[in-house]
Symmetry: C2
Subunit: 371 residues, 2 copies
């Protein structure tokens, strides 16, 4: 049985941010809380977004950390209550967007985040949450159309809350906001977008609309990511990459595979997600070769490769061509941690939709090859 | 600015209808009103659906006419009120699905349908409507994921209400329900699905996810519609066509073009929509040739045609090969009505997204060529 779902209202274009004031009014928000991080504020993007929000004057929280924490969530809830906020605006990458979802959840449902942990069945209790507007500042995760938030609890453990009711009411994608993203971050986030298209397309889960979107995301990212990295001010490249990231987020309902199954536990070492994916995915593509032939043929076509090209070899060159590392050792990963990572990866729910079944030994082999 | 939106929760597979009872319970419906038509009841499909609804026992209305009327709506509302219904299940083609949307609207908002007429701005006032489950019994309109209902008012005029709040909460697509559809109806509804992919893909409105879905819908319909018509029991063909119809419905947000702009006024003569589209679309494709070259190249690829093939010639052969008429005269359309149809078509909102601008004279030429 395939379950297919599409949600979220998306405004997409250069200058789309100008619609923020209208969207705030349309949602009837009197005092929205804007959740962002210091980097976005320093880049001057926050200021431009606050101007676009007028006449609304959002309350700003810019303390989001790279992996959002329950500490930040509690700070946001204190602001929410003190200032009488009635909706949340997420501005940034995956972290502020996840944090904003948690704020929308607790402000409407009360309790603690752990009460809604998907692993304990708590996510099923999530009903309509507070109003949310998501504004991505990078072309990568596609979290702007996501239904989940991943947070580190005070005890250090990870908590994931997932429910369709947590999808943002409005998404504003303005490629203008990504023009100032430095090459390294453009490359690392862009590889994540590309990987969403590749891994969801190879997933055995049946969802033809998601597959069609995934393949087009691969086509755009394969062509335009190198341009966006080399020419940050190339508007067409920025636009195409933001669309590729959005489409990558839209097809995640088809689920991912081995690269993301390994990136999740490795991420707990505070390594950049996209950078990890760029290192891991070629090894997963080599491992899966021969187990998803039709998908591989379509992916070669989307990446404009000859019929006999090896996807994993192409991707390795593609990643290094972007100036990204191709070995885990370059990120300071030590061989000793790999067995534990391999074990966690094989148990990750994303491992279930890798086209070739893989056990701890398989993941350990891939990780050692990637070291 | 491109606005991109996807909605609806879709269960898709052979046997998916078995989930109806659970979905009714999940929505908390105690006494749903099931809206269908006599044909569906006579085909034995209604009985199978009622069995799948257990333990729920929906109240049945099977008086839906081919072009749903306000008369049927008033009858449904009387039943709704007398029996204390709390949600609506649409079973059938576009007509019961549109009627069910109108029931969901009036039962939650009160007033008359005309109060919500999009042409008078009434549709903007539509908020959350009564719960809806949509179950298509043909692979064609894609109305199961639609946001609009088109009804004939008591005074004979057409009323269209459109709002995202009218999208069904749950869609159950079970190809099993289409196995008994006769060849002629399979062909006429299937051509509508194919045309949604073709016209939305040629529309200048920018919506890459919709475009990706549209192209895949064309690929499926071009390959499998002839099989579904020739071998009604071919399960793969029925499944692929139901997916093509669903995808065709999902990409309608990219808007259509000239064929649908002409089919709307012609439909007021009570002619079958899909049959009209099969006659009209080749002439629109010939008119647009040279004004959407990139789209045409992709469509040729999706239909597996040589690079120098003419789309309009291919579609004419495709339509006649399905045993469908290729001339309006075969439907009893008289030359005298064409100028009026051409005038209405040129003013239809769908004419705005035809890739080549067309005026009344252009439409009249196409209509005369199609006569």
């Amino acid at each position: 049985m395939s379950q297919i779902q599409y949600l979220a209202r998306i405004q997409f274009d250069f200058g789309a941010i100008a619609s923020l004031g209208d969207e705030i009014a349309r949602l009837g928000l009197k005092r929205p809380l804007l959740v962002t991080d210091a980097g976005v504020a320093e880049a001057g993007i926050l200021q431009r977004v606050l101007e676009a929000a007028r006449p609304s004057e959002p309350v700003v929280y810019d303390g989001t950390t790279e992996n959002p924490t329950e500490r930040s969530l509690l700070d946001c809830m204190e602001i929410w209550n003190d200032r009488g906020c009635d909706g949340v605006i997420a501005l940034g990458g995956g972290s502020p967007i996840d944090l904003a979802k948690a704020v929308a959840l607790l402000s409407s449902h009360g309790g603690s985040l752990v009460d809604y942990n998907v692993k304990r069945g708590g996510s099923e209790r999530i009903g309509k949450v507070s109003r949310q507007i998501a504004i991505p500042t990078a072309a990568g995760t596609g979290a702007e159309v996501g239904r989940a938030c991943v947070m580190s609890l005070l005890d250090g453990s990870k908590c994931v809350a997932v429910n369709l009711n947590m999808v943002a009411d409005v998404v504003i994608c303005d490629p203008e906001l990504t023009l100032s993203l430095p090459p390294r971050l453009t490359a690392a986030t862009g590889i994540d977008a590309l990987s969403h298209g590749i891994e969801t397309y190879c997933s055995p889960m049946e969802n033809p609309p998601a597959a069609a979107i995934a393949l087009d995301a691969v086509r755009r990212a394969a062509r335009w990511l190198p341009v966006a990295v080399q020419e940050g001010n190339n508007r067409e490249a920025r636009r195409e990459m933001m669309m590729a990231a959005l489409m990558g987020g839209m097809c995640l309902q088809k689920s991912l595979g081995g690269a993301h199954a390994m990136a999740t536990p490795l991420g707990e070492l505070h390594l950049h997600h996209g950078t990890l994916i760029g290192i891991l995915l070629p090894h997963v593509l080599r491992f899966n070769a021969g187990h998803a032939d039709l998908a591989y043929a379509d992916l070669r076509g989307a990446a404009n490769l000859p019929e006999d090209a090896e996807l994993h070899a192409w991707l390795t060159d593609f990643v290094s061509g972007l100036g990204l590392p191709t070995r885990l050792a370059e990120l300071g990963v030590a061989a000793g941690v790999l067995p534990g990572i391999a074990d966690k990866a094989s148990k990750d729910h994303l491992a279930r939709t890798n086209p070739r079944p893989a056990g701890p030994e398989d993941y350990l082999t891939m990780l050692r090859d990637a070291l």
